[in-house]
Amino acid sequence: MVSLQTMSVSSQEELKREKDRVFEKEFLPHINALYNFAFHLTYNEEDANDLVQETYMKAYRFISSYVEGTNAKAWLFKILKNAFINEYRKKSKRPTKVDYEEIVSYHDSEDTSYIGSLDLREEIYQGMLGDEVTKALNALPVDFKTVVLLCDIEGFTYEEIAKIIDIPIGTVRSRLHRARNMLKEKLKEYASNLGYKENR
């Protein structure tokens, strides 16, 4: 009896050591990227800390469903995104997330003119500071900001983004396109408020 107990404890310890090794080797190297993503989603350091901590705790708890050597970064981003949505829904006390379809149909209705106005002159925005660009990005609706962060900042492929946010690849494509256009509009507004002039 004593012997069995000893074996069981020993194998549990071995299992824990193995989980800790995977955690350390495959999950922790992505912590800065996750924190950066969390910060831009929440725009608040304390909330970003909580979100990252929750993500890592969940990842550890469900580590057995992770296959070593696969895409740990995308897996962690998916956990974080889900945690954010749950928290966001709780805080906003709304049953559904941001009404993406409403935004899309608005821009669809003015698609041609909207596209035409997007040829943002580079000298207008190249002089902008990081903080100003970050503010413009953070002013986008969360679903649009998310795809820009995942693609342009974190370098995920469309396929990875589709898996992280649970949408079809075609939607990733169109959402990203619209998000960049919206961001250009925001940058133009910010640049204009900062006194940059557009000569067109």
Binding site: N36, T112, I115, L120, V133, Y158, R180
Partner: protein
Amino acid sequence: MENPGTSNSPEFLKQVQLAIDGALRPDEQTAFFKQINDCPFCLEKYYKERRFKQFLENKVVKKCVSDDLISRIKSNLDRTPPQ
């Protein structure tokens, strides 16, 4: 040479972004680069969009996690049994 209208069409801009993101299939990519090489306005649009993507990557503020949070996570692992 194509006219500037092609380079301003919404469809072309979508193709440009797919090309920059590496999301075109090999055959689409070949056709796309042939098209922009034959059209200076299209080529300029491609470079402009590429610079915009680089601009975002470089300008958006990158935040780093604190050592304190890493320590907190590690110390919490002992209290979180894996399932």
